[in-house]
Amino acid sequence: MKWFPQKGPQRCSVARIPEEDIAMGCRVRLARNLREHVFPDRATARQRAVVLSKVMRVIQKEDPAFSRLTLDDLPETERLLVYETRLISKELSERDSGAGIVMAQDASVSAMINEEDHLRIQGFAPHMDIEAAWRKADALDTTFDAYLQYAWTPRWGYLTACPSNLGTGMRVSVMFHLIGLRMTGDLEAAIRGLERMRLLVRGIYGEGSESSGQIFQISNMDTLGMDEAAILTRIRRICEELVRQERNARARAICNSPLAVEDTLARALCLLKNVLLLPSGEAMELLSALRFGVSVGLVTKLTVKKIDQLMLTIQPAHLQREVDKTLTPEQRDEFRAVLLKRQLSKATLRKIAQ
């Protein structure tokens, strides 16, 4: 077993960095369309309303405990709130009419209605349990299949608005915190490698979003030609390798540049405890550094779970919900700084033993 450093109170093995600190969560998404209905982008408001109503009726009959939400009734701030929790995409949050979501009580499975496709079924699971996420999405898909006629052909599988999603319509995504690879300067090469293996590397909020706090969403590019089990096996294998590389990178960063690592953490904590205005992008970067620090035992009196919660709480809509009023960007930055200062007051640093 590789240890670093060799002695001292905070010695930490590569294997001791928990997989869940690196793989933060996963999702399996299935794209489906109804055979006789025009796809959402091309449909009129009335046509979208018909699809919305059909889907809602299925859920009402099959599982009344599911939440059924029509986004048309929600104000913009509420839509943004749901978007920040990653339950809906940017595209759905911006749909002018006919958008909806049905969701299990524990939010582990849901379906967006009238996004790019009529249905975007999503199963969620913690860390890298993509098989569990698939089982949830598959079960809801089977429920819909009993009532709705899907657009499907033997040649191209499930037909989707964009041909890039054809076939299984399945996108398996795992969220990774890749700060170690960033610290060692290997991140760009790792991303290029993933892209060469036909994987998509996106930001925290999926398609079209920027990376924030070294958090990346990795997902399969090919949806046609491989069955669901083969896609899951391939993604699992690649993700396990990515976890291994990130673990080694974190270990290398500490072994090779202990002072630089300590400095990064000290700066992050110092800023988080002292600044007066804190934009969300900067806050995410600082929290990302602390998340790494907690994971390798160099930041104490704080947990990875708490940091993950804070990463959500500091988003604009969530901040406004905390104070129950609309804030200007500067007020948000001020409130974010105050909130983080309060939440991180007890966090302390430990030195790397030489």
Partner: protein
């Protein structure tokens, strides 16, 4: 070599790109982009034709003291020309019978309008999908009761009628058409191929 416009499909032919104030540029492009470039050229010609027609239409009418049928005639010609021009392009481009999406529209938005689009544009989509995915043949989950589209169902009915009437050539053509849309012609219940 990849197409120098879309950078995804294989280049099949060379076209001359014309830009105002610049020398013509030769580009190697795929079939889709070649047609699109041609349509853009048409659009430009159409624009200048429309401008000329509008200028003519704005011309003051001939003085009343000189009764002449010419201005009226010119107006009629311009109206007729504009109508022809306005209807000329859409009729050249096939549109999906269910949602009305044209090839230019789906290429621009990278999205199709409905399931029937996959049949309407099957020929050109075959190449696009083969470029996009490593294996362009579905493997995986299927609906419990897959139902073909109305168009495929219609072809299947026509096939049954042709077989009953022993019109073997027609039956062969229909079988090929059904296969090209991804269904098995010998499964009239709509079973997957």
């Amino acid at each position: 070599m990849k197409c120098e416009i879309c950078h995804s499909a294989e280049a099949e032919r060379a076209i001359m790109k014309k830009a105002k104030g610049q020398p013509d540029q030769e580009l190697y492009v795929c079939a889709g982009c070649a047609i699109e470039a041609k349509l853009a050229e048409h659009d430009e010609e159409l624009g200048s034709l429309k401008k000329t027609a509008e200028k003519l239409a704005k011309k003051p009418p001939a003085p009343p003291q000189e009764p002449d049928a010419l201005p009226e005639l010119v107006g009629m010609i311009i109206d007729a020309t504009l109508e022809i021009i306005n209807h000329a392009l859409p009729s050249q481009e096939p549109a999906c019978p269910q949602c009305g999406v044209t090839r230019t529209e789906y290429r621009k938005a990278s999205r199709l309008g409905c399931a029937v689009c996959y049949e309407t544009f099957a020929k050109e989509l075959t190449g696009l999908i083969a470029d996009m995915h490593r294996t362009p043949k579905h493997d995986g989950k299927a609906p419990k009761k897959p139902v073909p589209s109305k168009e495929v169902q219609k072809l299947m009915r026509q096939l049954s009628a042709a077989e009953r009437a022993r019109r073997m050539e027609d039956a062969d053509t229909l079988r090929a058409a059904i296969r090209s849309l991804g269904w098995r012609p010998d499964a009239p219940g709509g079973d997957a191929g």
